[in-house]
């Protein structure tokens, strides 16, 4: 009997919303890191929906402590393993709030100290667990509950923070962006990362149907569109090697992506055309900068 059951290290019965992108990310990550792994997570959606006391969904050892310290806690886990002469993959799985914002300092420290840790950020582009508040990962012009559109606002007025570039500036061993919509890409990158010694950073684009405003069946479709428009470039940089970019045959206009999500709905109005153009410009820049077109 050939079964996929053994590959599944996230038990069913967890409390993620139907159509949750982060749960998909978790399942794909765990499939490649395997059982000889210790996972550390920041406070966030994943932490909440996987860990009710007595009903944990984790099949690997897992530790959560606070919002802003997953990189430091993982540093301690790794130090303890080293002190004891034991081996296990140490993997962080934290959200964009816990990575881009509140956990940035601890992550920088972990990178700089060269811990043998794979830091994976599931990026759903806002504080979803607390009710869709703006984070520095929220894309330009998206509305959230703390960046609403209004007379003086077109949603988030700032651009998304470039965390992969920050990771690269730390001279880490491996940096990659990927998406749950491309599971082979995601799993290959995670597999590559855990095979390299030293600090690694992987950022996974993780659509959130509740927070972005689309039907739960469209989570993967939305991830694909994000890549196909060039808004979310998928690349990897292994230290000392050329950047490798996932090519897109014919990039799609950004409008196709925006039209399908409530968080961009305010842009449909005529006077917001400039903002729409700006978003298209971001995509065009990405296509040029990363060489996305085939």
């Amino acid at each position: 009997m050939v079964t996929t059951e053994k590959l599944n290290l996230l038990a069913p019965g967890h409390r993620a919303c139907p159509g949750c992108g982060a749960a998909i990310a978790l399942r794909q990550i765990l499939r490649v890191v395997g059982r000889e792994t210790i996972v550390v997570s920041a406070t966030g959606c994943v932490e909440t929906f996987t860990s009710p006391y007595g009903q944990s969904a984790w099949e690997v050892p897992w530790m959560h402590s606070l919002f802003e310290n997953s990189a430091a806690v993982a540093s301690g886990v790794e130090a303890a393993l080293e002190a004891k002469g034991e081996k296990a993959n140490v993997v962080i799985i934290s959200g964009d709030g816990g990575t881009f914002d509140i956990g940035m300092g601890a992550m920088s420290g972990m990178f700089e100290r060269k811990h043998n840790i794979t830091y994976i950020c599931y990026d759903n582009e806002a504080y979803m667990n607390t009710g869709v508040q703006r984070s520095s990962a929220t894309p330009y012009a998206a509305t959230t509950t703390t960046s609403p559109a209004g007379k003086n606002s077109y949603g988030k007025m700032e651009f998304k923070k470039d965390v992969p570039a920050i990771a690269l500036a730390h001279d880490v061993e491996y940096v990659a962006t990927t998406s749950i919509a491309y599971p082979q890409d995601l799993m290959n990158k995670v597999k590559k990362a855990i095979g390299i010694k030293g600090p690694k950073y992987i950022q996974i684009h993780t659509p959130c149907c509740i927070g972005w405003g689309f039907d739960s069946s469209q989570t993967i479709a939305m991830g694909k569109l994000a890549a196909e428009t060039g808004l979310v470039p998928l690349f990897e940089v292994e230290k000392g090697k050329q950047m490798v970019v996932r090519k897109i045959k014919n990039t799609k206009p950004i409008q196709e992506y925006l039209n399908k999500q409530n968080r961009f709905r305010h842009l449909a109005k005529e006077d917001k055309e400039k903002i729409m153009e700006k978003l298209q410009e971001i995509c065009n820049d990405n296509v040029k900068r990363f060489g996305i077109s085939e």
Binding site: M63, H64, S75, G76
Partner: protein
Amino acid sequence: MSRTAVMEGSFAVAEAVKACRPEVIAAYPISPQTHIIEELSKYVADNELSSKYVRADSEFSAASIVYGSSGTGARSYTASSSQGLLLMTEVLYAMAGTRLPVVLTGVNRTVSAPITIQPDHQDTMALRDTGVIQIYVENIQEAYATHIQAFKLAEDHDILLPVMVCMDGWILTHTFEPVKIEEQELVDKFLPPFVPKYRLDPKNPLTYGSYGDDEVPEFRYMMHFAMEKAKTKIQLIAEEYKEIFGDYFGGLTEAYKCEDAEIILVAMGSVIGTIKETIDQLRSEGKKVGVLKVRTYRPFPAEEIFEIVKNAKIVAVIDKSISVGQGGQLATDIKAALINKKTPPLVYSCIAGMGGREVNINTVKYIINKSENSLITNQVPDIDYIEIKRQYLE
């Protein structure tokens, strides 16, 4: 063989920590904790200590690192002071709640603002509700012994709580005293390797830091119950220490000349030395005075304190900190310990030594003098700011 050497307090602490063979040390520098962590890093550099030493990017990370390492079953140590301890606060709550037996040195220094590096107890007082056991030491030798005992206490499966050894910055960390350094073999006998109850291990995948649905009151109760158990355990461990090393440093409190005392001073930390000296002087003048040293502030030994002070007429409590808007924390706890008792002594709350202001023999005499007056008038001031410089306030 043990050896006795004159050494700085910080180095004595480093010696004690080294003898406990922590597997992971994480630290971030802050005055006046620095000499401890510098010395430990030197041991590691010289291969005298095989710990993994993680130079953290902040105290917040230092506490988080030992959280992770302790959860992975490694004996873990950190140290901090003042702002650094406050930055650790959130982690310390989580650490105690997750029942991780980290040992840390709380080098007492006041808290901003205004910023100063002078000592008082404001920093560790702010951590009193975290679930971390707090033991305040009087001198360097006691600091040495208490660190060794702290690991044994923290790692006991009935306790499993972080333990903080609180010692006055500068006064204890940067002064020199002769210190008896115990033989490694005996320390190993007293403190065997850490055997965790649970740990992160792929062979037995456990979930740490789970989400509390409905069990929060019970988990808090369990922590409180462990603190209660620690009261007995602290004394047993001190007895065991004495058996092996020949000296007694321990207990929840230490009563000095309290048996027949009418006036009993209560305080914590290095100021006890000055008070004992004053008591000796006043005793020779025939005054019935004594001092009660509170060693463990958490767990708070309310019963034991009552037994010691119950026959006194007045208890003068010296707080080197203040809960702004309320008063001295130790005094408040002492009052609470006595409130339901029949004919309790008066409690006189003195705030002294904040921001490093000197508490000398004259200060102590002044407090005792005011206590005597209170007994005549049968009136105690709610709170007394000892040696406040009135000219600054006019």
